[in-house]
Amino acid sequence: MELFLYTALFSPLVGSLFAALFGASPKTKIAGIVPSILLGVSFLSSLILLVLVMGTGLTLHVEMMTWMATGDLYIPFGFVVDEVSVTMMIVVTLVSTVVHVYAIGYMDHDKGFNRFFSYLSAFVFSMMILVMSDNFAGLFIGWEGVGLCSWLLIGFWYHKESASWAANEAFIMNRIADLGMLIGIFLIYWNTGTLQYEEAFAVMPSLSTDILTWMGIFLFIGAMGKSAQFPLHTWLADAMEGPTPVSALIHAATMVTAGVYLVVRANPLYELIPSVGLFIASLGAFVALFAASMALVNRDMKRVIAYSTLSQLGYMFAAAGLGAYWVALFHLMAHAFFKALLFLGAGNVMHAMHDELDPFKMGGLSKVMKGTFLMMTIASVALAGIFPLAGFFSKDLILEVAFVEHHYIIYTVLLFTAGLTAFYSFRLVALIFHGEDRYKLFGIHPHEAYKFMLIAMSPLLLLAIIAGAFKMSYFEMVTNLLPATEYHVHSAATYWIMTIGTQIFVALAILYAYKKYTRKDIVVPDGTSKMENSFAYKLLINQYYIPYFYQEYIVKAYRELSEVFWTKIDQKVVDATVDGIANVFYQTGERTRVMQSGNLSTMLKWMVAGTVALLSLAVVFGLAARYSAEIKTFLSGLGV
């Protein structure tokens, strides 16, 4: 069994290294194929492990070797395969296999082909470490590892200024969050004396609530970074600078869900601090709405999808925060499938449109690219949560949770967001695939992607459709580890009303989107129309001016402050002081050397002067000694 574990874990690494061998050399298909195969292997072994875990219900726990050991601290490279991690493993390996195969086609014409695959596999490896580690330190390794890989992959086209900028932004924002996580880890160590999951969680109930609260908060700050929760969300949209497969794998399916995974993993902790849980849930709900709203108007296909990812992450956090960890995990899984599908579809479209991203410049593509059209539509339906696709089961469940837990505000927000989701996703579909062939104006001749790319996507398609069917069996499995809370609305009536109501609401949103965006008279907006000048639109298109704010008041400020520190403080104050002290002596020398005029009589004068000075001192002192008694009385007379 351990064999499968290690295969699952290390074959991506091998793949990455293999591709790295060709790093400098010109493009070779082999550098793409081998890693893909190895990932397939990894996926299979994960599948086997899943079967094992599902079947026997026992979990696998291995300890490879020591990492750090000093004082009381003892951190091994330990890996655990339990219900939660195996889920993640499946998701990660599956999606990444698909993406790899897809990317062979997608990156076909790219000079950095080999490099790309080495990065991509490296990412998968780090992600596996992240989900498989049995302690927080190991988690942190993966955590930073995926950060690094996302930096590499977002900035993959480093010659683009915007790309490398986005990469750095992503990395630094994540670093901010990671600090929180690090502090959380320290807290855990100094209070529980270990970083192993079980042992730490075992001790936690005995700790005071406020310590636990701090732990929860700091860990969640870490999660916020990776999962791009408000206010650390801006990097995700910019991360779309990376190649589309990257967006599909990292910024939709896997890495961004790491935060959710962390919260789920730490459920014993969050069980103890419901207040923090509630906060997480509320933030999740807020982000869901917030992101969806930005998705409404955006004119960059990939950014729209990115925002929808953000909003779905909000859903997951909402669920996790409310203690429905398995629900969150379930949605995570489902979302991974259909969102990856969506992105890859978008990738096809981009290829077809020569990297054109503005859906307003497309339209009517359904004729030329049927396969992609089909897939993206289904993915969007799933995303919208229409019965019986994956989205329905997972998302509806979250709504139920919110309702059952009597958090009606959250419930309403999420419900409303569901509508928005449906709207913007079909706005996209409509603009891309229906209506007039606006692309003709730009002299583009779109074409369908390679067959094998579509085939590669098909597993996702399948899962996007049927994933919901696994709900119960999944529930059975995962609740061995997670709190098994069934969420059932008490009266069947309310349940049906809710469900059907939601469905209708969503359906209406879809229809409205279609009606609005398949009209004949849709033109590429030029900033003149009334709607575009409305305040709301401006607010949304500028992402609530948050990036602007960051740029102006944080980045700029930081740069200027450093400038000041260097030129003013470091040079003008600190260093100047040091040189000043040296100069004082030197200048004293320069000034007083005239004393050495070289004239003999001056010298004699100095000598005599010295003697006279001494004499006068002596006389004063002598007199003082002689009349000391009198002086004393005199002074006492003065009352000294």
Binding site: A582, F585, Y586, T588, G589, E590, T592, R593, M595, Q596, G598, L600, T602, M603, L604, W606, M607, V608, A609, G610, T611, L614, L615, L617, A618, V619, F621, G622, L623, A625, R626
Partner: protein
């Protein structure tokens, strides 16, 4: 009818005079030789005086062993006083002189060395210094001092350049003034106590509890002034740089060591009993002097453009540094003084000899002075060995371990700490930090600048001969491997100093 003076020859115990008589006799011998056959080559005289000094050194060893056996010896109507200080300082004096004499065998001909008088005077001077340290009688101190000084003035003048005459005159005039001060000061003490023997003065003063302290202080002031002149304490130091610059480098090096140690001994004898008998005023004044001398001399050395002048100031500052020992006045500090001075004499003589061998007959056009910094630019390229040795001496002067002077510095600072002068200790170390700059300056010129003119290389050893190189070699070895000798030196010195009650 006069009653016959009956003084047993033993009670005179003339042995105490031997170390002084040897150089005197030697000097006379040299003169006599010249009388019979003049126009001898200088090497003869050099070797003769070397021999004489050697003998003198041996006799010193002898008296050292005597002292080792039965402590301090008085002699010749208790005028002579052979105690540890006397012996140690004479070792230094004679030793340094032995290192100095061979420097006369230069490659270029400097005509002072062709006169036998030079060597005669030199030996007289040594005798003078020996008298100075080997007595506590103010008269004899005065006589010794003046004998030595007068000889020294002449030696300087014999270098026979405008500058050397100027230097001689300056030194002479101020020396005369200092002599006046000394005699006046001793007159006051005589007036107060009716004696010119330091230990008796001490007794009398402490007997009447320093009744009229005011007059004592006046006396002290004048003695301070005269010894301040000898030790070049600021503000009595003004002669030093000029005299050093004017006289030949070798002699300058010599002057920075021997006259000072002699003066230090006397200062020790006079001032320490005063300090110990609680003349706070003197303590304060000495404190001020020490700090002023160290710091100001350093500060002036910073701005020098001529290496020799820089070394002059640096030796002023070193003198100030060592003055601290007298101020502290514990056995440890006094032994530190000797240790320091022995190591200093090696290093300083070495560095001045480096200047000496790089001495051209007449000034090249592009140089404003004999030993301007520029002259040494890029020396590492043209004369690596010489440069390294010079750098070695500079580092040692800067007090960088493990070279000679570091140990002296360390021990002295430690003595300051052990007797509670913490602030003084800090000032001392910070001063050596400042001093670091100007020693470094020379190293920078030698190692990090490009040579000014390419032909050079030979100019750094223009004046070198085997004897000179040997001397420098000895100095260098003494400086590098000092740390091996420190232990023995320390034991030896401490024993002598302690047994002579300081």
């Amino acid at each position: 009818m006069l009653s016959p003076v009956n003084v047993s020859i033993e009670s005179l115990n003339l042995m105490t005079l031997v170390p002084m008589l040897i150089p005197i006799v030697g000097a006379l011998l040299i003169l006599v030789i010249d009388l019979f056959k003049s126009e001898q080559d200088r090497s003869l005289y050099v070797m003769l005086s070397l021999l004489i000094l050697g003998v003198d050194f041996i006799s010193l060893m002898d008296s050292a062993s005597v002292f080792h056996k039965n402590g301090t010896i008085m002699g010749v109507f208790d005028v002579m006083l052979i105690d540890g200080l006397a012996i140690l300082s004479q070792f230094i004096i004679v030793g340094a002189s032995m290192l100095f004499i061979p420097l006369a065998l230069t490659h270029k001909r400097f005509h002072e060395f062709s006169y036998p008088e030079f060597f005669a005077l030199f030996l007289f001077m040594i005798a003078g210094f020996q008298f100075m340290v080997a007595t506590d009688n103010l008269i004899l101190i005065f006589v010794g001092l003046e004998t030595a000084s007068l000889a020294l003035y002449t030696l300087i003048a014999m270098h026979n350049r405008d500058k050397s005459f100027e230097a001689a005159v300056k030194y002479f005039t101020m020396g005369a003034l200092a002599a006046g001060f000394f005699s006046f000061g001793s007159m006051i003490f005589y007036a107060l106590t009716g004696s010119v023997e330091i230990n008796q003065i001490a007794e009398v003063l402490s007997a009447n509890k320093y009744a009229d302290i005011g007059f004592v202080l006046v006396g002290v002031v004048f003695l301070l002034a005269s010894f301040g002149f000898k030790l070049s304490i600021v503000p009595f130091h003004t002669w030093t740089p000029d005299v050093y610059e004017g006289s030949s480098a070798a002699l300058a090096g010599y002057m920075s060591i021997v006259p000072k140690i002699a003066a230090f001994i006397v200062a020790m004898r006079i001032f320490e009993f005063l300090i110990h008998s609680g003349v706070v005023w003197l303590e304060v004044i000495l404190y001020i002097f020490v700090v002023m001398t160290m710091t100001l001399a350093n500060v002036w050395a910073l701005v020098q453009t001529d290496v020799k002048r820089m070394l002059a100031y640096s030796s002023i500052s070193h003198a100030g540094f060592v003055m601290a020992a007298i101020l502290i006045g514990t056995t440890q500090s006094n032994s530190a003084l000797f240790l320091y001075w022995i190591l200093f004499s090696f290093t300083n003589l070495g560095s001045f000899s480096m200047l000496w061998i790089s001495r051209q007959k007449n000034l090249p056009a592009h140089q404003q002075s004999d030993h301007s910094y520029n002259k040494f630019a890029g020396m590492i390229k043209t004369a690596p060995v010489a440069a390294s040795i010079m750098a070695l001496f500079m580092l040692s002067l800067a007090g960088l371990p493990p070279f000679g002077l570091f140990w002296g510095k360390m021990y002295l600072v430690s003595s300051a700490i052990t007797s509670g002068y913490t602030v003084l200790a800090l000032i001392m170390v910070l001063n050596s930090a400042i001093a670091g700059y100007y020693y470094l300056k020379l190293i920078v010129y030698m190692f990090m600048r490009e040579p000014i003119m390419e032909d050079s290389g030979h100019i750094y050893s223009a004046n070198a001969t085997l004897p000179l190189k040997t001397i420098i070699g000895i100095a260098a070895i003494g400086t590098i491997f000092a740390f091996l000798a420190i232990n023995q030196l320390l034991e030896f010195i401490t024993m002598f100093v302690y047994n002579s009650g300081y």
